[in-house]
């Protein structure tokens, strides 16, 4: 499901992000340009991230964030992805007072609450696989990323 929903034109590799907002805006803009989301998506995702953060501490070397927002801002479902050349700070999903330096971001644009659960399930299982995450961080091409996710 993730490999199918991942939009090749919305994958940024080794992106030198200024901060978390920069990543979310860049990825949202890519999805907007391809007609997947409304223009309101970026603001809505950032607003949700401020209220209900999505930073996740992984077992390996890098940490992740999985920003998403209400289905109202989505036209067609898609996933955008960024690997970052240096970490940016997200807040921890369980303890929002905790800062998480994040280097891999999955931006989820899903049009049904039920598909959000299924997608979170799939993304969470990938995030638990330190080998795949390490290979994704090293990937230099979109086709490498898609091959890694087509397990």
């Amino acid at each position: 499901m993730l490999a199918e929903l991942l939009e090749p034109d919305a994958i940024l590799l080794h992106y030198p992000a200024q901060d978390a907002e920069d990543v979310v805006r860049q990825l949202s803009q890519k999805l907007f340009a391809k007609g997947y989301v409304h223009e309101s998506f970026a603001d809505a995702a950032l607003h949700r991230e401020a209220e209900l953060p999505t930073g996740l501490v992984l077992d390996g070397k890098v940490n992740a964030a999985i920003p998403h927002t209400d289905v109202d801002h989505v036209i067609r479902p898609a996933v955008a992805l960024a690997t970052l050349s240096k970490p940016v700070i997200f807040r921890h999903m369980i303890d929002p007072t905790e800062e998480v330096p994040v280097q891999i971001v999955f931006l989820l644009a899903l049009d049904q609450p039920k598909s959000q659960v299924a997608m979170l399930q799939e993304v969470a299982s990938i995030l638990q696989d330190a080998v795949i995450i390490e290979r994704m961080m090293e990937a230099d091409s979109v086709s490498d990323i898609i091959a890694l996710l087509q397990r």
Binding site: V117, A124, Q128
Partner: protein, 91 residues
């Protein structure tokens, strides 16, 4: 070992905020706590790990089994049961 079975009625199932609240509640207790998706019959996972809980894929209306072992096991199960029965603090 104390075990309870609960139904998750939140529209989002155990994802995002409900999942975070669930893990936060479990992590507040010293005992080992596991949770299992009964509806899909998946193996039990650590209830204190958000990634593990998200991989369970618990949708609205699914039944889960929560097991606690060790210090404050009963209190932990009570707190988790209250959280889910109160629909994660939402009306």
């Amino acid at each position: 070992m104390p075990t309870i079975t609960l139904t998750v009625n939140h529209p989002a199932g155990l994802h995002a905020r409900p999942a975070a609240e669930f893990v936060k509640t479990a992590a507040a207790f010293p005992c080992n706590i596991t949770v299992r998706n009964i509806t899909d019959d998946k193996p039990a996972v650590n209830a204190k790990s958000i990634l593990s809980v998200l991989t369970l894929g618990v949708h609205q209306g699914y039944e889960i089994e929560v097991n606690a072992e060790g210090d404050q096991a009963q209190e932990a199960l009570q707190a988790i049961s209250d959280l889910i029965k109160n629909n994660f603090g939402e009306t």
